[in-house]
Symmetry: D2
Subunit: 281 residues, 4 copies
Amino acid sequence: MAITIGENSYGKQRVRLLRVARQDGRHDLQELTIDIRFEGDFETAHTEGDNKKILPTDTMKNTVYALARQRPIETIETFCEQLTEHFLENNPQASGVHVEAAETLWARLPFGGKLHAHAFTSSGGEKHTAAVSGVRGPKIVTSGIEGLVVLKTTQSAFEDFLQDEYTTLKETRNRILSTVIRAIWSYRGGESNYGTTWQGVRQVLLETFAEHDSQSVQQTLYAMGEAVLANFAGIREIHLSLPNKHYLPVDLSPFRLDNPGQIYLPTDEPHGLIEATLRKD
Amino acid sequence: MAITIGENSYGKQRVRLLRVARQDGRHDLQELTIDIRFEGDFETAHTEGDNKKILPTDTMKNTVYALARQRPIETIETFCEQLTEHFLENNPQASGVHVEAAETLWARLPFGGKLHAHAFTSSGGEKHTAAVSGVRGPKIVTSGIEGLVVLKTTQSAFEDFLQDEYTTLKETRNRILSTVIRAIWSYRGGESNYGTTWQGVRQVLLETFAEHDSQSVQQTLYAMGEAVLANFAGIREIHLSLPNKHYLPVDLSPFRLDNPGQIYLPTDEPHGLIEATLRKD
Amino acid sequence: MAITIGENSYGKQRVRLLRVARQDGRHDLQELTIDIRFEGDFETAHTEGDNKKILPTDTMKNTVYALARQRPIETIETFCEQLTEHFLENNPQASGVHVEAAETLWARLPFGGKLHAHAFTSSGGEKHTAAVSGVRGPKIVTSGIEGLVVLKTTQSAFEDFLQDEYTTLKETRNRILSTVIRAIWSYRGGESNYGTTWQGVRQVLLETFAEHDSQSVQQTLYAMGEAVLANFAGIREIHLSLPNKHYLPVDLSPFRLDNPGQIYLPTDEPHGLIEATLRKD
Amino acid sequence: MAITIGENSYGKQRVRLLRVARQDGRHDLQELTIDIRFEGDFETAHTEGDNKKILPTDTMKNTVYALARQRPIETIETFCEQLTEHFLENNPQASGVHVEAAETLWARLPFGGKLHAHAFTSSGGEKHTAAVSGVRGPKIVTSGIEGLVVLKTTQSAFEDFLQDEYTTLKETRNRILSTVIRAIWSYRGGESNYGTTWQGVRQVLLETFAEHDSQSVQQTLYAMGEAVLANFAGIREIHLSLPNKHYLPVDLSPFRLDNPGQIYLPTDEPHGLIEATLRKD
């Protein structure tokens, strides 16, 4: 029996890092979790136990800390780029290097009408993400958002859908719409300011979600992606993944009460999941 | 062998509810998770399988929805009081009823310089909590905060501590201090505005955390509790539970780099835990 | 305003440890997570930032590793006792020391009809727990079980219960009964073999759950506790906490199908919770 | 600006189901969680809010329950196939249907030296998984294992690896090796007994893990995959994903103690991740 090794990779996951920049009168901080993955010519490690081409994943972790010390982290996108370049330059045995980062978002505490110089609160589960895929040639950079929870109490309908023998869902002109936005986008060419663009994309996604008169999650997803592509010339493509977090109207009729859009049951499972990639031609 | 039944209770946990109040031009919402527990004379249920005194936990759940429909939920504290009173009145077999609620905090989306009328984002893992313990007599109301993550990058020391043969920790004048605030407080008498007080307590806790020149988590905990007791005449007692979420300086010396308070390793475990109750005399 | 400090404590949570005992031809292992808490005279740490009586929680962690190296860990109960004694002896400022441990259960891999000498699999989420509360005097030892998931498909009824205006639950002679057993028990005096007793208690709990003709979770809880107290002379008291994990029959009538106890919806929330302590007189 | 919709899909996630087969004297049960995803011609739903081709995800959920009632679930693989076929037959607008299932593993309780007829315990976090990808033509079936935690205390080395300026890891001839096995395999043609094959693959993976004299996780991964391909003629390809869950020797030298492979720190993060696909030629 002949066996071939197909796609394979190895690396380090969940390398965590807090970086503090201490200027007089103002500290800035960045908290990151980084995943690193190498692809390449690692066949003899698998078949012969030969580790001569294997850079330990422990070294990948050390590299994150050493590089973070030597230069400021401008954005998580540029930090992923630096890590990718470092690994490609120093590891000819690697044909591809993939680095992903997720930034835990901290906000300055309000204090006496201003923002505090060195005290922060975490703004919850939302993360700014980035990924760089480097091969021997151009790198692909993506940015993203994860865990951005939103809900609207009106302007969401779902009607006139396909029905079969197992359909019991009722049509509705007015339902709760709630999702956890996950977005990943890529750029046409070089991007000069990832941070500003990220803030802008986030605001466009939120405003479109808020104002869209929704006939379905699909239609709202499309409107959100379209708005991003229309407003940001440098963005080439966006992928959106929107779970439909169902809030179900509670049937109060056994208690001789009506329920005019007032009392809902929040549910985690099952949930819908709507995904699409939109591209500029 | 004679067996006696000691403390015992039963009830329903994690009853979830979204309530929407729909005024013209503005929707308000409250998302709650509620736990209910009955104590009382339930011995024959245990020993004889006699369910005649057992109100089903399913009915407890239904009651939450029915009461939420019939009156506005002013605050989670008053809703817990209403549920407690309802259950005590209708269930003479219960000697004590305990209702706890946790509110998921939603914030209006910013839109065109204003706040949106009906679109919201979840501000993360922080929760407003409340609990009411009702017996045949006065009820005890508490309010609380859970999951409020904070971090400061300076004004935190830990020095001159007790040392023994297993002590390796180095003294430090300047460390990262991070915690997840959990606070529970109770009132002197009737409280007229739970919501305003909750916002006020939260701000005092955050400001004290930010400004305190900390010699230890214990000292900061005390300062935070003292500030709440000093600023809110109606609050009689506060319990604070502060995990010490360690951010450890990374040793970069193997790479011939120093680390002047810049690169840290965030850790989840192990962690310190500091707890105390403070009372007004 | 005079403020007093009430109950207060500090310590280290989630100290993790794997201990391997390497005999010829057979390795044994224990994986533990340990929580340590000191109570005592720590007022000046709170009020003055005086750390002279504060043993760092980092030292508590180091002590766990050092003691684990110097003696075998016979059972988690005796290891908690050793830690408690060590801390009480060396820390006169502590009036009480509380140590809890949870053991991750590993089972040997079957291999060639026997059990492997040094390869293991984790038997899931179930944990053996223990706690020792030490003061200046006798110590209290408890043992426990957490995360033991069980389910039976028959011999569980719930009928003839209290009904009110909000009751919609139907009586049933035959429902699914599923719970996650959490048990904690304490001893009459010295116990010579915690490990054997723990295995015995676990088996009695499981057998009683399996064979009991249940009229309610309360009745099954009582039968389980009674069986433990009856079978183990050295056990004085047992606390059982049994969530009622509802498996709801799916209504298939919209599809013109019946459902004779065949198709159920597993749910996580809401869930019932039944708790009681049983004692020998 | 012209926008095109690229890859897109929608469906229902986490549809949960318990199925009980009640024979005289013996009940069998299967607990499943199912994900369903449709691909196809859904452009007008996105761009025009036209739902005429959208089968509600609620109907997908109903279909799971209705089909589970009408036929026995032989294996999760055949149930995924039935669901895929049903959806493709009834939904010409769908060009592809993807159904995945994960089975929570329950084991009969031991009772009086035998296995109980209707009482079960959950054997933890391990799951049997399956996936069927159906298009207009042949379907692809895969089977898998998730969450199978293993650990060995010896016969694991990592030496002679690539070193660079950031390498600090020491070579070791004898380390703890622990992973959480995730495996997915596909078949050459029709498979007649998914259940027996699954048990066989699981045993081969465990035995190879236990007995392999490991020079690296890569080499052990290869040996495990090779053993499966060699022992099961009907399996064409296997993908293995093995996190390297590090157990780090604790440095006890500050306490003047050695550590001869006895005391380790279990860690969750960071962790290595080794992945590869092996194929028969």
